[in-house]
């Protein structure tokens, strides 16, 4: 997977879960995105894991996360070229 593919898929998952009409910045999170509650975070982590075939640590489910922190967690594991 190239880095461009990775970024496109990552964005796609965010939008599928949080809304097609939303654009995201790296420091977006539960405080800035209306739909992003704890349940949405669980769903988001699950979708990222499924789409990238990775497993994130359990605290990704419940801990305070942002678009940027999730992106690095997934990128470390998916290792796009």
């Amino acid at each position: 997977m190239t880095l461009a593919d990775f970024d496109a898929t990552f964005e796609e998952v965010l939008q599928d879960v949080l809304g097609w009409d939303v654009a995201f910045a790296d420091d977006d999170g539960p405080r800035t995105v209306e739909a992003w509650d704890s349940l949405m975070q669980v769903r988001l982590v699950h979708e990222l894991e499924t789409r990238f075939g990775v497993r994130l640590p359990d605290d990704a489910l419940l801990g305070e996360q942002t678009v940027g922190s999730l992106r690095s967690l997934v990128r470390e594991r998916a290792q796009p070229a």
Binding site: D16, G19, W20, D21, S38, L39, R43, E47, T50
Partner: protein, 625 residues
């Protein structure tokens, strides 16, 4: 799946196509692509896309077309938000306009047994009770198993009784039998092991449900998916959600299917192809004895598919054939091949000619007098499925692709075959529709309509609603009847029973037979006193099953109703018509029967002066002795 979307899904184009439609505001088209997928597919992108289409549509005051509405309360013992979210999508995909209320989790008895709760204020038509096996509080091995099972039965039954008090029908999720047990396979031999006790609780609830509670067999669904895929312990511990995201679409769809069945949206007829569907090979080439059925791997699979269809027929689903063949050749295997499981008598309509499939399907619908939404079309040829889906989008299509060994599973995956209950009428329905098809034939030859009616030698049994079994069937009729239904008032069994109690209602049911068939209980009429004019009886419900439309059965029913009204002291009978999407054919019923328009009713109410003109007379139907 529409082929373009199927290919697109793999590359992301399907999703982009949907996004493009949504940003162009073409919600109906996007939904039209998604709706068939949601009915069979579990992929997350399909459900995410549906959520996004519905959300964007709602912001633009668009909502998907629906044919029934429901107010569904959800009582979960766990975090139910994801289930509610998926249920809304699943209901929409099955044409139910649903309003949801999800109670805070764990608030079961509190919401049901207390008075003035938010659930009661929501006025649900249905309430889903969704617990998990963890709520049963069972040890791995109990020393008081019987008492624990009794206690659970009491708990859930008292909840059901409370919900009946709120006026809602109950949908109950069964308990998933736990897969991990330290007892291993020994658990099955011990009636008081945790897995055995969960099974026993499910059995008790199944037996207690009767026709009042709709059970969703979650254990069956979990087994189908595989129990290690069904649940995700991490989700349970971190979010109190007992099933994985892989399980949610299936659970939501099947729950919605049971609700749809209760609302009268289940399929009423499966139309099947013959060559390479019911048997292997082409009958015109192989001959009636040469087609592959009953022997060998493919033959056994075709036979199993026929047996499955036979099972559906026993549950009240009609079977029909739509085949591109010469009629004689198509009938051959049914008449002479002893390995066939289905016979010609199993089919309500048999169409074999050289027209396009959509035309054949339309003819079957016309012959049976059923709307197109009532049909599921199953064919091994994907092109013919696509042709039917394109020409008649309200017909559900099942493409039987590949080996015949997959056919049963493909048809069983359809969410359209959930019947709320088996009624005595289901057993006789097939014969009745066959009778209708023969009667249609006769109509072609009988000359005048009067001669046709007279040649049918129709016999009626008019009964009261409290007769044994009549309540279930009458409720089913109010739920399912769309065409010959003057007021479209839908009622559950409980609501009907409630009406009867004070004795303030005149109620008549009609069972009809003719020389071809016994149609069973096919008509219902209810009349109540006009609150402003106690000498006028208002026909609150008048409906007939499609299969007896055009037989003067309504006259017979009104004749009995008007006689009952006269003896109850009423001077007038008032009929009303409430227009709906498909009941246009009865808009002029009352004026045609000589009722006079009520001034100022805008063509919606008519009266007959019973005191002056007496009851109506029925000329073509005799009461059975």
């Amino acid at each position: 799946m529409p082929p373009a979307l199927e290919r697109g899904a793999a590359t992301g184009d399907g999703r982009s196509a949907l996004r493009a439609l949504v940003s162009a505001g073409r919600f109906a088209e996007a939904w039209g692509l998604l709706r068939p997928l949601l009915r069979t597919r579990d992929e997350a992108w399909v459900w995410s896309a549906a959520r996004n289409v519905l959300r964007a549509g709602a912001r633009n005051e668009w909502s998907p077309p629906s044919s029934r509405s429901a107010r569904l309360g959800i009582l979960c013992t766990y975090t139910g938000a994801d289930l509610a979210d998926h249920l809304e999508i699943a209901c929409r995909a099955l044409d139910i306009d649903v309003e949801l209320y999800a109670a805070p989790y764990g608030q079961l008895e509190q919401e049901v047994l207390a008075s003035g709760t938010p659930l009661a204020a929501f006025e649900p038509t249905h309430v889903l009770v969704a617990p998990t096996a963890a709520d049963l509080g069972l040890p791995e091995l109990a020393d008081d198993g019987g008492a624990r099972v009794d206690e659970q039965e009491r708990r859930w039954r008292s909840l059901w009784a409370g919900l009946a008090g709120v006026g809602a029908r109950v949908l109950q999720h069964s308990f998933v039998v736990p897969d991990e047990t330290p007892l291993g396979h020994l658990a099955l031999r011990l009636p008081d092991s945790r897995p055995s006790l969960v099974r026993r609780v499910n059995d008790r609830l199944g037996a207690a449900a009767g026709s009042d509670v709709l059970l969703v067999d979650c254990d069956r669904l979990a087994s189908r998916l595989g129990k290690d895929r069904w649940s995700d312990p991490r989700l349970w511990y971190s979010a109190r959600q007992p099933f994985s995201y892989a399980a949610l679409p299936l659970l939501a769809r099947e729950t919605a299917a049971v609700l749809a069945g209760d609302l009268g949206l289940g399929a009423r007829c499966v139309i099947v192809d013959l060559d390479n569907t019911l048997w292997g090979g082409i009958v015109a080439e192989e001959g009636p004895g040469g087609v592959v059925v009953g022997e060998g791997p493919d033959g056994e699979a075709h036979a199993a598919f026929q047996e499955y269809l036979k099972g559906l027929a026993r549950c009240g689903v009609l079977l029909a054939v739509a085949s591109k063949n010469d009629l004689e050749a198509a009938r051959g295997p049914f008449e002479t091949n002893v390995r066939m499981r289905l016979g010609l008598e199993d089919f309500a309509v048999f169409v074999a000619d050289w027209r396009r499939k959509p035309e054949q399907v339309e003819e079957i619908a016309r012959t049976l007098g059923l709307p197109l939404e009532s049909f599921v079309f199953a064919d091994d040829n994907p092109a013919e499925c696509a042709e039917v889906a394109a020409a008649l989008p309200s017909v559900d299509t099942v493409a039987l692709a590949g080996s015949p060994s997959t056919f049963v599973r493909a048809l069983a995956a359809s969410p359209r075959f959930e019947a709320p209950a088996l009624t005595a009428a289901d057993a006789g329905r097939r014969r009745s529709y066959q009778g209708r098809a023969q009667a249609e034939d006769l109509r072609g030859r009988a000359g005048s309509l009067e001669a046709f009616w007279s040649s049918l030698r129709m016999r009626a049994v008019v009964g009261d609603l409290d007769a044994h079994g009549a309540l279930d069937r009458a409720a089913q009729l109010t739920q399912k009847t769309n065409q010959f239904n003057l007021t479209l008032v839908r009622r559950t069994r409980e609501e009907l029973r409630g009406l009867l109690e004070p004795g303030a209602v005149l109620a008549k049911t009609l069972a009809l037979s003719d020389r071809f068939a016994d149609h069973g209980l096919i008509g219902l009429a209810l009349a109540v006193a006009d609150p402003d004019d106690p000498r006028t009886a208002v026909v609150d419900t008048l409906l007939l099953s499609c299969r007896v439309i055009g037989r003067t059965a309504e006259v017979h029913l009104l004749a009995h109703l008007s006689r009952a009204a006269l003896s109850a002291g009423f001077a007038r009978l008032r009929g009303v018509y409430v227009p709906g999407p498909r009941n246009g054919l009865v808009a002029e019923l009352y004026p045609k029967l000589g009722f006079t328009a009520v001034p100022g009713s805008a063509g919606r109410a008519w009266e007959r002066d019973l005191a002056a003109h007496g009851p109506l007379e029925s000329r073509w139907i005799e009461d059975a002795p």
